[in-house]
Amino acid sequence: MELLAALLTLAFQAMVPITLAAIGEIFSERAGVVNIGLEGLMVISAFFAVVGAKGTGDPWIGLVCGLGAGVVVGLIHGLISVYLRGDQVISGVGINLLGLGLVGSGMVALWGGPLQLPAALQVPSLPAPWGRVSPIFIVMLLLAAFTWWLLFRTALGLRVRAVGENPAPADVAGIRVERLRFGAVIYGAFLGGLAGAFFSLDWTHTITKTLPAERGFIALANVVFSKLNPLLALLGGFIFGFFDALSFWVSNVPGINRFVPWQFVRMIPYVATLLVLMGAIGRARFPQALGRPYWRE
């Protein structure tokens, strides 16, 4: 029973970055801009969250720094993919590499290597029926509901989806295509930044250049799984997060090494991601203009 509660606590932690990043990406993809740089976005935010927290001694200011870093990365990606009409996927790869280099060299320059955060710089957790829960977990639930409401129940959401499906008529109807897409990318990057800050300040309490360990791509899988619906992304996030947690949890079960080698346990999240995607019912329908820059004729 205690082990199960531990598994649940872990799963609720592991689902947060995968879900938050996916919700942000859903909003951005609904507007027609894909960002495969979630991995780099998260690690950069995680790094600057730690920089902020260490500089001021306050985890909440660190959180704000992480969000700010996420938004700056979003500005770069938005500028390239919306205003410069560049290749969104290539820009995303650039951001991933930038994250690796920025965090890898920044860590060495500032602290001489990877870092362990003291308890005073960690985001405090709240009590929950099954153990402890992060305040960011609750924010994630609210953001999922808010993003769903924004996309499907407001005029702004209708415009965002119009711009993603077919920007030319939207433009004729007086919608500012570039501005809306740019805003959607920033919103997505903001949520990705929150996911990154969660990684370092709240979950792992450490910073390395490979901190997200492909979870940016698992978040992309979650976007596909949830068929670009923020509420379904909660379910997808829980499933992917559960397997992520399972791999930690199994490795702590005594005597498990005799049955399954630990290297195979570490494969669980990645294998599960492929299997879940394969088993997902029906295919996701992506916005028509996804990935295509808009040129006014």
């Binding site: 993919s81 996927v89 790869v93 650039g94 992309l220 290297q263």
Partner: protein, 370 residues
Amino acid sequence: MLLAFIPLRTILLTIASRGKPVLEVIAALLIGLLLGAALMAGWGYDPWKAYLALLEGSFGNLYSLASTLSKATPLILTGLTFAIGLRAGLFNIGAQGQMVLGALVAVAASTLRLPTGLHLVVALALAMFAGAAWSLPASWLKGRRGISEVISTIMLNSIAVWLARYLLLHFLNDPQRGGWISIMAGPSARFPTLVPGSELTYSIFASLAFALAAYWLLWHMVPGFELRCSGLNAAAARYAGIEPQRSINLAFILGGLAAGLTGATQVLGRFPYSLDNGLTILGTLGFDGIAVALVGRNHPLGIIVAAVFFGALSAGGGLMGFRARVPLDVTYIVQGVIILAVAAPEIWRILRGLFPTLGCLRRGRERWNY
């Protein structure tokens, strides 16, 4: 005096007329190096000292030149993996995992008892086969289940890493060397050294041969033509009777062969002729190939040039780290910025608007393209 005989004006005009993509790429490289310098200064390092060391460490003498070429060898191959995928309309970022398995199989094959020469050929063939085999799940998932290769190849990369760590530890481990590294490939399975005292081996010819073969296949043979057609316009290609799954498979398999060969060149062509359990010997060569392919404009011949550039960055990085104490990860920043600059060709049109003197580039092109 001699300078007067170099037709500088003609060369410049030719570049201006035919070489707009080349100029764009060169500008992207410069932007990457400049922003890398800015960031080094920001972290408190001396960028001037760093780049001088980088230049000396990559082209300063015969040894560093050989080192640059040896670093370029794997980059040509992983660059091809990505480029061939992109030519078929695929975003194949699975070179890393395919390379890991190629290296693993190369080490395993080195335990076979075969005569020198044949042993190397067999090891290379098996490594390439392993790389291609590891690319097939992504191809199948893409074609049959519509799962984006961006996600599937990344997952396969991670799975490959843990699989390789398991197999290395349990089947290819060398307990006499502390258990953290695999057995050493015997001399009969190694690439012979090309420049004595350096890491440059005959593996560079394997790399170049693969690049030329890929060029021939893509531009002078029917399957390659079909592959490029599918990449340019999948719907039109299907209408013309080109089976999409076949092109997808071909692109993944060719990419896998290149990536598998990359792994083999790293364990059979370099000291310590083995693979460590942390896979640090392979580094991130698979991902580095993305920048190489983009800078090389996804063309095998361009990729060779681009690989030498990035090889120099990597070869000189050691001396740069030593002299200017710059962390090696700075080269990822340079790479990332270069990719971002390549991603947005529109930036050049805006720059031309800001600096009218650059406008001659386009005028030149119009004049020469009649």
